[in-house]
């Protein structure tokens, strides 16, 4: 006796196929929703910024006069801050990942640390701003200088860098480290010669993507009191500064006073987007170029 009735199966066939097609359209719409909103956003920004991005805009000083205003100060501030964030997060992030993955005994303490790192990655960025304000700006009396801003953003992206680095280490096949241990290598020799070279592309990719998140962060900088005043170009990490997202923020707010500020904000957004695009391309390049086959 057959359990499947051929007649019934044929009768239900059309309904099943229709359902399949409807769902396909629904998922396509879900994809399009994000894409279309993003496209509109970029279109608006590009239209608003047309005619505003020129050499004077890129290299000029901050000014209340929209025609003369430039973003060099904010651009330099952002770049200097990245010079703080990149080494701090790379060294602390990769160091932490190596300890947790390769040295720490798997146990309660390790799992508590691990859970907390995962949770820290979800803490709102403004909370890190308050932390940075309390520790770096006030307790350590740095004031709102580049170093303070950079360390605050480092704290913010450190959990992401750690988790990415841990995943990169975990992706290194065990048979490679076994081969090294099997020849009498110590743990550090194995880490240095086998695990790190294999994991580094993944680590760097994660770190660069985290860095590009830090570049766009505004909330923590607002909290530690970064101004958008007319101040001299920063020349080192101990100078006061402003950054690209701050510049966008203030110009957007003040566009109710001076309409052209909206165009300046749009121009700054384009510059920031290009910076992010370059960073993300670098991440993809590193991943493809240095990935090892095994």
């Amino acid at each position: 006796m057959k359990y499947l009735n051929a007649e019934q199966v044929t009768k239900r066939m059309d309904g099943r196929i229709a359902k399949n097609n409807i769902l396909k359209v629904l998922f396509l719409l879900a994809t399009l929703f994000g894409l279309i909103v993003l496209a509109i956003l970029i279109y608006r920004v590009v239209v608003d910024s047309i005619g505003w991005i020129d050499w004077n805009f890129l290299t000029g000083r901050q000014s209340t006069d929209a025609e003369r205003a430039g973003i060099m100060g904010a651009l330099l501030g952002t770049l200097w801050m990245m010079l703080v964030v990149a080494p701090v997060t790379l060294i602390l992030g990769i160091g932490t990942a190596i300890y947790l993955e390769l040295y720490a005994k798997k146990g309660r303490l390790q799992s508590i640390i691990q859970t907390n790192i995962a949770n820290l990655a979800g803490v709102p960025s403004i909370v890190y701003g308050i932390l940075g304000l309390t520790i770096f700006v006030r307790a350590m009396e740095m004031g709102n200088i580049i170093l303070a801003g950079g360390l605050t953003l480092s704290l913010l992206i450190l959990p992401i860098v750690i988790v990415a680095a841990q995943e990169a280490i975990r992706a290194v096949p065990g048979f490679l480290s076994e081969a090294s241990y099997g020849m009498g290598a110590t743990k550090w020799q194995t880490i240095k010669n086998v695990i790190l070279p294999a994991a580094l592309p993944g680590m760097l990719t994660g770190a660069i993507l985290a860095l590009s998140r830090a570049i766009g962060e505004t909330a923590p900088l607002t909290v530690i009191g970064i101004p958008a005043l007319i101040i001299p170009f920063p020349e080192g990490i101990f100078d006061k500064f402003t950054a690209l997202p701050m510049q966008i923020y203030y110009w957007t707010i003040d566009s109710s006073l001076v309409a052209e500020y909206a165009n300046l904000a749009a121009g700054t957004i384009i510059v920031l987007l290009i910076l992010l695009f370059v960073l993300n391309s670098a991440a993809i390049f590193i991943r493809n170029k240095f990935q090892q086959r095994f």
Partner: protein
């Protein structure tokens, strides 16, 4: 030559409290002496009261069905088994008279004397040259000329020199599976060990490559003591001098290979080698 000096120095450090000469004399031909070895992975009792004496410059095969503990035993001989965090052992293994399970015996020393070839060929994603030079380098050899000599000698030792001499700078993953495994054997030879442990070295290879490795093992036993774990009973019969049959974590029978395969004393051995289970 300087590699030898390094190894002698390592030896000196370890023998400070033992009268090496007399011990070696007493166990002249025994390289590994295992006494009442028990091993647990967490709660699982994986090796039970193992007693085995393994001779120098012979091929010792370890056979048995999956999960019988044969790989575990092999990895205990160079303490690779300790990479599993929950492992616990009791009993004693001596290597040329020295107790190796003792924590005071540094694993790095042990693994310099007891090399290992793994089931799946596992070259590093580096050049052929750097793969072979890896061991000597981690043991402190920096001299380019000495490294060159070690690389050539090791590759010749594993009968792969002629195939790779023109492409030493190429990535090892460009080689075929069988060549990769011989490269891994050459890499082990480069640390100038006394013993080579082989954990099913041909199970991932085609018959032709397998044959090459088997021939190589016959050549290597002139200079090295070889312990090989294999699923392939014909292979054990072809290449080994002695065979140990493991079952459920115990040594059922250990004897000259001919005896094991022609007139085993234990019924379970006979059942296994005649293909009734496993």
């Amino acid at each position: 030559m300087s590699l030898l000096t390094v190894k002698e120095n390592i030896g000196m450090v370890n023998n400070s409290n033992t009268d090496m000469a007399s011990l070696v004399q007493a166990n002249k031909n025994i390289v590994f002496d295992t006494k009442d070895l028990n091993l647990w992975y967490g709660e699982t009792h994986a090796l039970k009261d193992i007693n085995l004496k393994i001779n120098e410059k012979e091929v010792t095969a370890i056979i048995g069905p999956s999960g019988c503990g044969k790989s575990t035993y092999l990895k205990t001989l160079n303490r690779m088994v300790e990479l599993v965090p929950t492992v616990r052992t009791t009993g004693e293994i001596t290597y040329k008279g020295q107790s190796i399970l003792d924590k005071s015996f540094k694993v790095e020393n042990l693994r310099t004397r007891v090399g290992m070839v793994f089931q799946k060929p596992n070259p590093f994603p580096k050049s052929i040259y750097d793969n072979i030079a890896y061991g000597p380098r981690i043991h402190g050899i920096r001299n380019k000329k000495i490294l060159d000599e070690i690389v050539e000698k090791s590759l010749r030792g594993a009968y792969i020199w002629d195939e790779v001499k023109d492409r030493l700078k190429e990535n090892a993953y460009g080689l075929s599976g069988g060549q990769q495994q011989r490269l891994c054997i050459a890499r082990t030879l480069a640390i100038e060990p006394d013993v080579i442990l082989m954990d099913e070295p041909t199970s991932a290879l085609d018959p032709k490559s397998t044959l090459k490795i088997e021939d190589l093992v016959q050549e290597l036993k002139k200079d090295y003591s070889i312990i090989i774990v294999t699923h392939n009973m014909q292979q054990a019969a072809r290449i080994s001098d002695r065979t140990a049959f493991f079952l459920n974590g115990e040594v059922v029978e250990f004897d000259v290979t001919d005896t094991i395969f022609t007139k085993p004393t234990d019924n379970r051995t006979e059942d296994y080698i005649s293909g009734r289970f496993g």
